[in-house]
């Protein structure tokens, strides 16, 4: 099929950038969106031009590298998928497709469609860990009883791949779904309980410092999240942060 792509080109962090038209033909509907971009890049390189920079790694929806705001939606149309899992059969012959990078103050563009998402790493580093001593005194995992429901919820939160679709899609550029998932996956389990208050305070403080916006409960993140992480986790973070703020000495 033939498509008219409108792709964001920006030579570097300080370049202003603009949308550029790329007509493509002979696109197979079995290609993933990233494969389609690979083919386009081959063409661009053959012409001696600069290929389009975009992030990708595992190409099986598990690493969180790929991004792209496609036709106004994070990871394009479709629920619970990343851009590498988006196939060209989702589009029709002759469609115009807008491709833009994640837009957020805290995710500056490196080049074209690639953004710097290390703000997420700094939020994680601020408190997304447990301080159990794991050297030499291992305890049998089954010795700590954990209700199945809690284990399931913690696992649901832990499926967050840190892709940033929540920030990209939020009208406020808020990172609450990411932060809440990282807080929930630990605080729901006994191993994460000791630091739960400190963790909520530290991770929210870092999130604010990075310049993300404020959550206004539009629920857009939950819809666009490739791992379908629920707003319930944001409520849990709201509760934990409230308790931690009120009781902090």
């Amino acid at each position: 099929m033939k498509l008219n792509l409108k792709i964001w080109r920006q030579s570097g962090p300080n370049d202003k950038g603009a949308m550029k038209d790329y007509p493509v033909k002979d696109v197979s509907e079995d290609m993933s969106f990233l494969e389609m971009l690979d083919v386009l890049n081959d063409d661009i390189v053959r012409k001696g031009e600069d290929p389009i920079a975009f992030d990708h790694d595992c190409r099986e929806g598990i690493c969180g590298s790929c991004s792209l705001f496609i036709n106004g939606e994070a990871h394009g149309p479709g629920k619970g998928i990343t851009t590498c899992q988006l196939h060209m059969r989702r589009f029709k012959d002759g469609d115009t497709i807008h491709v833009e990078p994640w837009r957020a103050q805290a995710f500056p563009v490196i080049k074209d469609l690639a953004t710097n998402r290390s703000a997420f790493d700094r939020i994680q580093a601020a408190g997304g860990f447990v301080s159990i001593n794991t050297s030499g005194n291992l305890v049998d995992g089954n010795a700590v009883p954990i209700p199945k429901d809690d284990a399931d919820k913690a696992f649901d939160a832990a499926t967050c791949i840190g892709c940033g679709a929540c920030v990209a899609t939020c009208p406020n550029g808020s990172a609450m779904l990411f932060t809440a998932a990282k807080v929930s996956q630990l605080s729901l389990l006994p191993q994460g309980k000791p630091e739960s208050k400190r963790r909520a305070l530290a991770m929210v403080e870092q999130m604010d410092k990075e310049g993300f916006g404020n959550c206004s409960n539009t629920g857009a993140c939950e819809i666009e999240c490739p791992k379908n992480i629920s707003l319930e986790h944001i409520a849990r973070l709201n509760r934990e942060y409230l308790a931690a703020t009120v009781t902090k000495e």
């Binding site: 939606e73 837009r103 009208p171 550029g173 929210v204 916006g213 404020n214 539009t218 709201n238």
Partner: protein
Amino acid sequence: MARQGLFGSSLVKKYWMALTGLFLITFLVVHAAVNAMIFWNDGGVTFNTVAHFFGSNILIRTMEIVLFIGLIAHIVDGLMLWAQNRAARPVKYAMEKGSANRSWYSEWMGLLGTLLLLFLIMHLWHFWVPSRITGLEEIAGMPGHHNLYIEMVEVFASPVPVVLYVLGCISLFWHLLHGFQSAFQSVGINHKRYTPIIKMTGAVFSLVISALFASMPVSMYFGWIK
């Protein structure tokens, strides 16, 4: 940007937004209940009596001050959130399909709030200012008893205020539709069993309260209230 203090972190600002919002909702209930006395159709006798009781009650007059503080906190907090949220996305998307994942009214709470504020300024000018500052006509034989009913009849005799009041009620409906349930989520109340009940209650409340308020100027204008 360091965010500390009483209106500090993003979450603390959201707690204030939720708590002041819920407080303002309780005021709406009292206000609607008092005003609904006009539907007794007794020439405003019941309404004026109840309005006088509330207007001259020390508890209510104290709460009036708390109400203004709550309202201003809600506005100031909202403006701070709005400014930070705008700054969080300096470069806009060329194409954004918001309808795919959110309701328009949840995204435009700030705009709806601004419309409500404009409505409120007009509303205070019509009723609160004459009642508290410039003075109102008194009921014959009852010194100190303002005839608020006559003021309503006069204001709603012309179509322009009636239309503006109905538009204000429509803004209120959408603002509450998101705001009511959002306040619970902000303070961390989200539960499989209770959240659907909260959302349904919020939707019914928004509709009933807005329709009730809107029915007042409309029925006054068409002379359904005597």
